[in-house]
Amino acid sequence: MRPKVQFKGIREGLLVTLSDGEWSEIELALMEQVDAQADFLKGARLILNVENHVINAAALGKLRDQLSDKGLSIWAVLTNSPTTETNAQALGMATRIYQGPVVQPKVSRNKDQDGDEAILVHRTLRSGASIKFDGHIIVIGDVNPGAEIIAGGNVVVWGKLRGMVHAGANGNPDAVVCALGLSPTQLRIGEKIAVSPSDGGTMQPEKAFIRDDKVVAEPWMNQGQSK
């Protein structure tokens, strides 16, 4: 029989897998483990894998409060039960541990075909939205103030860019940012940070890149320019 509570460190935090069985017993076992390793676990961010347990919001809230007394927070709850998932979300917990709508390309591509990996986001990014990707990011829609885009490569926005954008986030100074309307709250390329001119930008298609160690924006027309 597998243990009632298993801990495993993963990138996002501490993954706690709870076995099937009576919830009250599992809960008790979890709290015992937490008590036993209080010093080690203090401040940990937990990802609770409760599998098939159906946990109501009150029980989940209680567990969160108990853990919070010990200095632990529940960041996410992984579950097969839609009820538990809804309850966890209502309590402001994540229910999936991969972040953002990062879609890995499924279609395999010709090895000798040119091109880099990119994701396409076909919606308006409102305040609070965040898109992060190692490759290029293409948005069809607006990027509103309060939204952020962080790309390892280039960023292309087919719409108005008014949020925060970081191209070449891994330190690549050759990255570019293009938008039909370029008026970002802040624009970063590689290590450079720039803000829009105080007149709010011209709202015409522009391309921003680094030239002579400065971020510059030019009308986005000269398609012949190699980049």
């Binding site: 209502a90 402001g92 308006t124 409102r126 305040s127 607006d142 309060g146």
Partner: protein
Amino acid sequence: MAGKVITITSGKGGVGKTTAAANVGAALAELGQKVVCLDADIGLRNLDVILGLENRIVYDLVDVVEGRCRLKQAMIRDKRLPNLHLIPAAQTRDKSAVSPSDMIRLCDELREIADFIVIDSPAGIERGFRNAIAAADMVVVITNPEVSAVRDADRIIGLIEAEEKGPAKLVINRINPAMVERGDMLDVDDVLELLAIDLIGIVPEDESVLVSANRGVPAALNVKSKAGRAFANIAKRILGEDVPFVELQSENGFFSKLTKFIRSGGD
């Protein structure tokens, strides 16, 4: 009866959610609809005060949810409009006293007895907001023509879309046509261009709103109040009437902008 649940929310505080809930509720009731206003701002209730019903509260929302009274016992009938009822929030508890599933259950029951259930949401994006939109058939986002309120409205619209309660409808409250003309205030165009959702009301800045709130008589019942008429028009639009945005027509230069967004705002 299959009532419709309308949640009024904003993200930012102080933009006029409670005022809008009271006035839209009252205006719908005056148009002959049976309306229940539900105050979801547990711990910071105000809707009872705006409606002038504070001294009649016996039971509240939390009492219903926790089974201390029947639903109808918590419904306070308005003294002027027999069609208008209020279920007040509890003042001595907090948002965690109610869950989204409680709200869904409660609203299912209310749909049987009312045409419209108007929910006044608390400010913020946490539990209280989630409670308020859990049962919504229609979400109305209120904003003011100022940058911070529009920013918060944008965030809240995103959350409403994520909860699959969208697309939300927009009301721009407290617009001052004179200031807009001088270029000192965001105009309706600016707001709509960013938020890109359907507009169902423009409410002008109006002192009579404050006066009527203090007296506990919704401005929508006062035909002399400009803001009151704007709220009454919102109620008509909710009922599916095609009411043109003409309140501010007399203000020169403003209406020309209005006609522009009506054509382009149907995104």
